[in-house]
């Protein structure tokens, strides 16, 4: 029965076999994950953030657990554009799922440089613009909290991205996320992803110092899910619905029910981050669970669910 259910979705110019992605920074460049799950079963794959030059990242501890969540301050540690092209692109080229390269930088030129170099690569379906990383001194979140800068960076990258789908990843650490969402969409974003992590702190009460070397980190995991669902619904109602722009919803998803909530709230697709660390094959489970949900609720096409909040 569940084979008759259509879980495919249209995500901007892409047709996805199902609406489940892995989130940036939680699945590397797909190679390590292959030991635990079949990446090609996904709806889409998003790489760790790539920057123009290699980034060493922050000192350790870079992560700390908290009730039903975790904080990370990796500091965008990544191999840099050249090594990405040499070492990782060939691996990605073998995948049959659409791959988004997540791009980060300190200046607009940094972002444009990475996107320009990759815009002609067949292996890449699109870019996810990370203007919402809370763990770096320059760039990152500072782009994502100011609508004028969001406009500027989105339009510059849009030009460089050519035919590739451009998705802009939003931070929840703003007064009104719809203002930022609108700026991105009006400057040419083909899709939005939300949310990135919340800036947070855990204190070691013995030393009276922050646990993380970076002092603060980004909060992710089940603890942020209800806020993420709310923000997806808000952006869907206030910005994307009337413009037909798809949302990739994420934040704390671990089960199919979690994914269904996001879709009902207005997400066309969802991404799974932190949960991959605990259950590296949980995306497979979620895809199966989505089909089961549709079957038991007499839904033949998952598109019926998108934004169906009553």
């Amino acid at each position: 029965m569940s084979e008759l259910i259509d879980v495919s979705v249209e995500f901007s110019r892409l047709k996805l076999a199902n609406p489940v992605f892995t989130a940036s920074g939680t699945c590397g460049y797909a190679d390590e994950l292959a030991d635990f799950t079949n990446v090609n079963q996904l709806g889409g794959f998003i790489t760790k953030s790539i920057t123009a030059k290699l980034r060493q990242g922050n000192d350790t501890p870079r992560v700390v657990e908290t009730d039903s969540g975790m904080l990370n301050a990796i500091g965008l540690a990544n191999i840099g554009l050249d090594a990405f092209i040499q070492e990782k692109l060939p691996i990605i080229a073998k995948l049959t799922v659409p791959v988004f390269v997540n791009v980060a930088g300190e200046t607009i030129d940094d972002y444009v440089a990475v996107v320009q170099r990759l815009a002609t690569e067949q292996a890449i379906a699109g870019f996810e613009l990370n203007i919402s990383c809370p763990n770096v001194a320059k760039g990152g979140l500072s782009f994502g909290t100011d609508p004028a800068q969001v406009t500027e960076i989105t339009s510059a990258v849009k030009q460089a991205a050519g035919e590739k789908v451009l998705m802009v990843k939003l931070s929840p650490c703003v007064t009104d996320i719809s203002v930022i969402a609108r700026a991105a969409v009006e400057a040419g974003a083909d899709a939005l992803s939300l949310i990135n992590t919340f800036t947070a702190m855990v204190i070691d009460i013995e030393t009276r110092k922050p646990v993380l070397a970076n002092k603060t980190g980004g909060l992710s995991g089940p603890v942020i899910k209800p806020i993420a669902v709310y923000l997806v619904n808000k952006v869907y109602n206030e910005v994307t619905k009337e413009r037909g722009i798809p949302i990739l919803g994420l934040g704390g998803i671990r089960t199919a029910s979690d994914a269904v909530e996001f879709i009902i709230a207005g997400a066309t697709a969802v991404a799974v981050g932190t949960a991959n660390f605990v259950e590296p094959n949980c995306t497979t489970k979620i895809i199966e669970g989505l089909k089961r949900y549709c079957t038991s609720h007499n839904i033949t096409n998952i598109k019926e669910l998108i934004g169906s909040l009553g």
């Binding site: 920074g25 760790k48 350790t60 501890p61 870079r62 992560v63 975790m70 991959n276 660390f277 605990v278």
Partner: protein, 316 residues
């Protein structure tokens, strides 16, 4: 990638608990049994490799069973898996038994004490790179601090099986007697070599103990004890190799001793790990770039947890 012909090298598997024995005030030995593909994967596990256990679904032991100083922290809900190395791995008739020596010190390890025989646990592994044995070594020195003894017990076993001509000696230290993660030392304890630690003696490996407070064995740091011992021996540096596991401060001291004596030294490092299999970048270890003043971060879970002391820049 998986190696089809020999089954996967690693994966996410369910293990059956066959034992979980308390061996000291806070120390336990957990026995896990794997079948089928998992048995094949873990049969290949080498000393120093580790596994990630999902302990989030296990209920806490009754509050009376929890040390008073841990009752408050024990209530924290856990989300992430926890990394543990092995103190023994054995295969028989398609099943592989893996034992873990652990200390109950926080919410996850306290839950671990509640695992009873017959229960099932989700395990990802075996992960990382274990200790390597360069050719031509005649003398192996195993030096552990506190909980670090586990992988060195496993190493003592494989060494005596694979390299019977190599002499091995174990040095084990802790703050005080009750913080040594062994079942009661059997023989008279002195500051000399002896077969006092059953865990090593069963492989014909003698041991020396040290405690900071002198409650058993040498009084002082295990690194001082080891250093003194080295000073009394005339030992060809190139014949010897040191394997060590323990707190980072101790490992930094071991690195210094090894450098001074020009003896090869491999250590098993720890970092807070969110994934354990190389995707999250949380477990960075600062390392020297060969022949230059530059540094780079390696991943404890994927490039380690065993490192050569010459490459590591210690944070402690």
């Amino acid at each position: 990638m998986t190696n089809e012909s020999f089954g996967p090298n690693k994966g996410m598997f369910d293990a059956a608990v066959f034992a979980n024995k308390q061996i000291g005030q806070r120390f336990y030995r957990l026995g896990l049994e794997f079948s089928a593909d998992a048995a094949a994967a873990f049969a290949k596990a080498s000393p120093g490799q580790f596994a990630e256990l999902d302990l989030s679904g296990i209920a806490l032991p009754p509050v009376e069973g929890i040390a008073e100083d841990l009752r408050d922290v024990s209530e924290r809900k856990i989300l992430l898996r926890r990394p543990f190395s092995f103190c023994d791995v054995s295969s028989h008739r398609g099943k592989t038994k893996v034992e873990i020596l652990y200390c109950a010190l926080g919410p996850a390890t306290l839950r671990m004490t509640a695992l009873s025989a017959g229960k099932s646990v989700s395990v990802i592994g075996p992960l990382g790179n274990g200790f390597r044995m360069p050719a031509g070594k005649k003398m192996v020195l195993l030096v552990s601090g506190g909980m670090g003894a586990g992988p060195l017990i496993h190493l003592a076993k494989t060494l005596t099986a694979d390299c019977p001509d190599v002499e091995a000696i174990a040095f084990a230290g802790a703050k005080t007697k009750t913080e040594l993660p062994f079942e009661k030392p059997t023989d008279e304890i002195s500051q000399q070599l002896g077969f006092s630690l059953h865990e090593f003696a069963r492989f014909g490996v003698e041991s020396v103990l040290a405690t900071d407070d002198g409650s058993i064995g040498y009084q002082g740091l295990i690194t001082d004890c080891f250093s003194k011992w080295l000073g009394q021996r005339s030992l060809l540096a190139r014949d010897a190799i040191i394997y060590s596991c323990g707190p980072e401060k101790m490992l930094a001291r071991m690195a210094k001793i090894a450098e001074d004596k020009k003896i090869d030294c491999q250590i098993s490092m720890e970092r807070m790990m969110a994934c354990g299999f190389g995707v999250c970048q949380s477990c960075a270890v600062k390392c020297k770039v060969n022949g230059s003043g530059e540094t780079l971060y390696k991943l404890c879970c994927k490039d380690g947890p065993v490192f050569d002391t010459r490459e590591v820049i210690f944070s402690a």
